[in-house]
Amino acid sequence: MRDANDTCIIICNMENLDPMGVHTGDSIVVAPSQTLSDRDHQMLRNSALKIIRALGIEGGCNVQFALAPRPDVVAWDGSDDATCLPYHVIEVNPRVSRSSALASKATGYPIARVAAKIAIGKSLHEIQNSVTERTTAAFEPALDYTVVKIPRWPFDKFAAGDRHLGTQMKATGEVMAIDRTFEGALQKAIRSLEFGQRSILWESPDWGDHPPLDATDERIWALIASLRRGRTPMEIAHDCGVDPWFLERFARIVAMERRLLAEDLTPTLLCAAKRLGFADRDIATLADRLPEQVRALRDEWGIRPAYKMVDTCAAEFDAVTPYFYSTYEEENEALPNLDRERMLVVGSGPIRIGQGIEFDYCSVRAARALQDAGVMSILANSNPETASTDFDTSDRLYFEPLDEESVRDLLENEAGGGEAPPSIVQFGGQTAVNMAGPLHAAALPIAGSSADTIDLAEDRGRFEAILSSLDIPQPPGAGVRTLEDAFTTAAAIRYPVLVRPSYVLGGRAMEVVHDESELRRYFGAALAEGTGAVLIDKYLDGPEVEVDAICDGNAVLIPGIMEHIERAGVHSGDSMAVYPPQRLTAEQRDAIIDYTTRMALALGVRGLMNVQFVIAPSAQPDGPGVFVIEVNPRSSRTVPFLSKVTGVPMVQLAVNIMLGKSLKDQGYEGGLWPERDLVAVKAPVFSMAKLIGVDTFLGPEMKSTGEVMGIDHTFDAAVRKAMIASDLEVRPGTPVLLSLARQTKDEATPLVHLLHAAGCPLYATEGTAAMIRGLGIPVTEVTKILEGHPNVVDVIRDGSVGAVINTIEGGRAEVRRDGFHIRRNATEMRIPCFTSLDTARAAIEALAAPDDYSVQPLIEYRDGMTS
């Protein structure tokens, strides 16, 4: 940080575990640096200060260095440099960055806040340190603990993606953990990742005697696995360039694994293992016990975590901001405040596909709602990037893994020997809601919907029974375990059918299959992955509709209905959602309100619930044709969007219900909240250009990383703004390449006419070109990839076309390899690529609409004011 008086301080020095060549955002990072001598440290510090002064930055800045490795590990070839200094300056970011967010959370020093104040003319010595309230922002933070950050990569969603790490970042989010030792922080960070059930003990079945040490998301496990196979830290360091210091630490972890395998579990051994960060679950695996038995032993032997404060000053001054981490030491600094009513908000962990920033929004709003109601808010989360882990969001913050062990430990700490405060699990996405079962089993109280309500909504058998008792239709289907049963079920309900493994939520590995051969292939793959049962549902071809609802046990408020632009079969997180709905009949709308209300009451929801419907009148000729696809007994990713466009403070209402207030007490009543006179479109945003090898077509598996909103007074203007904000805008006259699957050609006819009318020159592959010519519209035919030039990829790469519409045969991608290359090339050239005719139609219709849109504060749209 530097101010206009030229006062400069260093906030944090951090070290990448991965050697140069891996993007910092994809590196495991440790703070403070662990392998630098004091002399190295002072040298880099002086260089950083010199650079920030030379650049004249007023505010924050981040400097990245490459430091010469230890000479006994790698020979340093920088000796021909004129300065003879053992480091190089790699890069400077003259702004607040990902690294500065991490540095803020690692030290407690609010870099963005201080940078903003410097920008308006304040000096460092004039800005108060809000953590100590005694020191100023001119004090350099001091750390008496170790911090480890691990990136969260999306390869659980994209198994086909290239896992190698390099200069292009691939992680969607990150976790951070704090402890008194590096080993403890590392193990807690691994537990925070929520990457399947992958613990420190995980090994790939493919590794054999020589785990690959190249830079991938799995390298940390491969390094430890190599040590297990008897390789020495120095040998491994020579092979991969990771500093031997880190490998020696991993070796201590491996040595403890051996002790836990071989020795009797004594209080001394268990305590030593906990100090090295071993989870109860891993100790149980190694010492041949159940996790609950390890916990019972800890209770019996008094081996409990103490909580230490992150105070920015290594305890030199008293701190007032209660920000804590666990460690196995004496002296607990987080004594519970038993005089006040308190509640825990369980956060959502790292940003990943399917669980994004929406849930952080909900956690922050929940903490604020508790404070507004005079209740002390306690927040637990493992994500250093977010607002929820900011020092002043909650009354007390625990920076901890969001697993059963850590959440129970901190609740027991808060109980102080008495009753633990209730936990709110419905705002932190699936991470938090998954805690309901374990907390309930441990007799810890849950605020809002009970563990049984959550189980009712998530257990397919129980949920079906409820729906059928309420006479609410859902697409027919069944869970099957054998291929024969699958064929029988699919034949009975008729193809196409939607298939998915029974245990995974969030749309993973879900597919629409159209015939027996596709079903056979899916079933074979699912069995190979060890999936037990497969769920088969009738795929109903129709628009999808989504609602969020708030229930107090007597009344059910529906703030708004959202209609998806893409039909069912595209994951709701990847669909464009429109508020208010544009195509629903009054009868359909009434059915949605009626079903939602009755389901919320029957399930016993207290707080938020999300329901997804498909509208298929042809499947129910004598009724409204509204079918329930899915119910989530928690806050959903549409809550921030819907809260903002309707003005209904959804999270606050839900929290107050948990505190015993009814909707009526809060001035609301049941039913659909009056629709606002505006149109808002939520559009997904993808990061596909950065994920080599990943197919971009839209399907039942979620792929987007973020979202934008277009809001205006008319549907066309709102869609157009959503398209602009998500980089999907097609301008009149843009040349468009079409490559359409056989069964979508008829449906695409009006689209082709619209494109032609908008002056867009058309390019198409053979079959599609024939169809376009048949409509009497000129078209340039391009060949397939292997049939010469210019082929489909050439016209994308040389800029001949500015947008692509590509639909896939049978809803599946791999059958048409040319299609994959079309989509990848369009993505890499960053031109719009539509794989759903519904999205394409919205974009093309918006193109034909009048050119103007409004620019107004959000609140003016809500109030129906035009500019």
Binding site: I51, I57, I90, R113, I120, G121, V645, M709
Partner: protein, 179 residues
């Protein structure tokens, strides 16, 4: 005097209103950290009695929630949109360094299009010159050489032939990235 710094005697008037540009949708490389940073910036402005005007296209953020900024726009992050916001709100200043690369790039585009000058909007935090010095690899390398700080051997090339020639000089392994 170091490059880019303002003379110590220059009068600095505290702005009355500040435009803050958010970072848009969450994508790989630009995630929730800028929601956190922007939210802190809005709170800091409030503490200082400065009116904050926020624009971001991402509705899932805390920063775009009611009560964080004084005026909130959820609109596409384009030069056209932000110019219309500036014309309407007439902020004294623009804070470009808290919205990640997206916010910084948009601020630079607004400056280059003459919009900041047209509406008399001051850039806070970093001057355009500072940003260019840090972001332009050639200018940055020249600056480091001038102050005696070592940088890896590197070259900026535009053709494959030049790349091959540069590689003969630099050697392998080498890092390739857009300039």
């Amino acid at each position: 005097m170091p490059a880019g710094s303002s003379p110590a005697s220059a009068p600095f008037e505290k702005p009355r209103s500040v435009l803050i540009i958010g970072s848009g949708p969450i994508v790989i490389g630009q995630a929730a950290e800028f929601d956190y940073a922007g939210t802190q910036a809005c709170k800091a402005m409030r503490e200082e009695g400065i009116r904050s005007i926020l624009v971001n296209s991402n509705p899932a953020t805390i920063m775009t929630d009611e009560g964080v900024a004084d005026v909130t726009y959820i609109e596409p992050l384009t030069v056209d949109v932000v110019e219309r916001i500036i014309a309407r709100e007439r902020p004294d200043a623009l804070l470009p360094t808290l919205g990640g690369q997206t916010g910084l790039n948009l601020a630079m585009e607004l400056a280059e299009a003459g919009i900041l000058d047209k509406y008399n909007v001051r850039m806070l935090g970093s001057t355009i010159r500072t940003i260019k010095l840090a972001e332009d690899r050639q200018l940055f390398r020249d600056l480091l050489t001038e102050i005696g700080e070592p940088t890896p051997k590197s070259a900026i090339v535009e053709t494959f032939e030049d790349a091959q020639a540069a590689l003969d000089e630099i050697g392998l392994p080498a890092v390739i990235r857009p300039a």
